[in-house]
């Protein structure tokens, strides 16, 4: 019994310490912004890394999400004689939930994993120590531009996800199943309010900062992985980054939704 309590206590303390460490990591990275030289160049590179590289996967996922929503929505709504509400259904589902959540998960899968692996390799090959010995703040050089890039990339890609998803819903609902296109688009037009777009962008912003910070932190602490080292530690860090960032996305989504609904 004592051992069990001891294990629970140690695990709880480690979790609290982990949260504290993560909070320090993020705050120090943010605080490093004013003193980081040539931040603009690094920021542009980070925007490319997270944004341009993810456009394809986000577009494809958005298209198929819209197609499925149109298909499922049409048949379900038709059962209740409300097929005309398809535009409303697709637009609100995408704007309020699916676009920010699925968009964030896709960016985490594509760019977040790459970020964790890259920073993990920097750590393994002592490049982060090298930055420190050169008098360069590793947080300012490696982390700050990526966090700042997330602030612009996630909202833009989420908006792109929403628009492509709406087009996907139109393709399956109107072009394939025959719903009048005017009915579909007027449903979209009248359903989406400013508050829905604001919720969508707020979620995208928060998901961006949280998930990219988790991926950066996971890579940055690769040398602290217990029981593994070298390439195995990078592998563990990358997996950990994707899993934690995905869970965080869904958990934060619930929190934001519960406050805004």
């Amino acid at each position: 019994m004592m051992r069990l309590l001891q294990a629970v206590g140690q695990s709880s303390l480690a979790t609290v310490a982990g949260f504290g460490d993560f909070a320090m990591f993020v705050s120090q990275a943010v605080a490093a912004a004013p003193t980081t030289r040539r931040l603009g160049q690094r920021w542009i590179r980070a925007v490319h890394e997270q944004g341009v590289r993810c456009v394809f996967v986000v577009t494809i996922v958005a298209l198929f999400t819209g197609l499925v929503l149109g298909l499922q929505g049409y048949y379900v709504l038709a059962r209740f004689g409300s097929a005309g509400a398809l535009g409303t259904f697709v637009s609100l589902t995408l704007t309020r939930e699916l676009a920010p959540v699925l968009g964030a998960l896709m960016i985490v899968g594509q760019a977040g994993s790459a970020i964790a692996a890259e920073i993990g390799i920097h750590r393994n090959s002592e490049q982060i120590d090298a930055l420190t010995t050169m008098g360069i703040d590793p947080l300012g050089y490696l982390i700050t531009p990526r966090l700042l890039a997330a602030l612009i990339v996630f909202p833009i890609l989420t908006m792109a996800f929403t628009l492509v998803g709406l087009a996907g819903g139109y393709l399956s609902g109107s072009l394939l199943l025959g719903l009048d296109s005017g009915v579909y688009w007027s449903g979209v037009h009248f359903a989406v309010r400013f508050a829905d777009v604001r919720e969508c962008l707020l979620k995208a912003l928060v998901f961006g900062v949280v998930t990219i910070a988790i991926c950066c932190h996971s890579g940055f602490t690769t040398h602290l992985r217990a029981g593994v080292s070298g390439s195995q530690a990078v592998s563990v860090s990358t997996t950990r980054a994707v899993v934690l960032a995905s869970i965080a996305t869904l958990a934060v989504d619930y929190l934001i939704t519960s406050f805004l609904v």
Binding site: T36, R37, S125, Q127, A130, T132, T133, G135, I136
Partner: protein
């Protein structure tokens, strides 16, 4: 040869570092005279690299102090460079970008000046034709020179070398030590070299120190090291010294 009467650029007093219950450095004290090459020997796992990382400020010692001409460890970081065992070059940056990086991030030089200084550094180490190559496209020796170019481009007063000859064959090991001696003269820095290559280091160094059981067991000139009757010093092989000129 450097006389011990020269003022020390770096003083280490009672440095202690342990990981868990394992004491790596018990109490290390060392003086590094300005302009000298000081080599630190020791068996594997005796804490040579830990000592170097404490000097560079990468590890925080549990006790003791590191003084850089009466300044703190933060001063050491600003005025010293560190050459890592595996070079720690940024593999996604070209040779030129690797060398320009510390200038871009720590100085207020303009683009043209940075390019000029970086190209001069590459040229002085014979790498000007490889400026646009990535580290992976270069040989081990060239990577070592590139790492040295990056270390020297900010004109440090002290350069810390962590096993610069690890994994190199004997001719390449000699070449690395010759390079350290040559560039020490050219760039006028002080060097602390952690190494296993006793003969090469004895030939290149002004002073040597032997780390054993977390303490400096021997400190003196290469000649004194070679003449020592101490059994631990003698266990470091046939320490014939071929002193370099000058």
């Amino acid at each position: 040869m450097i006389r011990t009467t020269l003022p020390p650029i770096l003083e280490v007093h009672g440095l202690r570092k342990q990981f868990g219950n394992h004491v790596v450095l018990a109490s290390v004290s060392l003086l590094v005279p300005r302009g000298s090459i000081v080599s630190v020997f020791g068996r594997s796992g005796t804490g040579k690299s830990v000592l170097l990382k404490c000097l560079a400020g990468l590890l925080k010692p549990d006790a003791g102090e590191v003084c850089f001409e009466n300044g703190s460890v933060d001063v050491v970081r600003r005025r010293c460079s560190y050459l890592f065992q595996a070079n720690a070059l940024f593999d996604s940056l070209t040779a030129f970008e690797n060398v320009a990086l510390p200038l871009e991030q720590t100085t207020r030089l303009g683009r043209r000046e940075i390019a000029q200084v970086a190209r001069n550094a590459l040229k002085s180490l014979g790498l000007d034709k490889f400026a646009e190559h990535f580290p992976a496209q270069m040989s081990g020796g060239m990577q070592k020179r590139l790492a040295l170019a990056r270390a020297l481009v900010t004109q440090p007063e002290l350069v810390l070398f962590d096993e610069p000859t690890a994994g190199l064959d004997p001719p390449a090991r000699n070449a690395v030590f010759e390079m350290i001696v040559q560039y020490r003269r050219q760039f006028d820095f002080t060097a602390v070299v952690v190494t296993h290559d006793v003969p090469e280091a004895l030939a290149a160094s002004d002073r040597v120190a032997l780390l054993e059981e977390g303490r400096i067991h021997f400190e003196g000139t290469p000649t004194e090291f070679a003449a020592s009757g101490d059994c631990i010093v003698r266990s470091f092989g046939d320490n014939k010294v071929t002193l370099r000129n000058g």
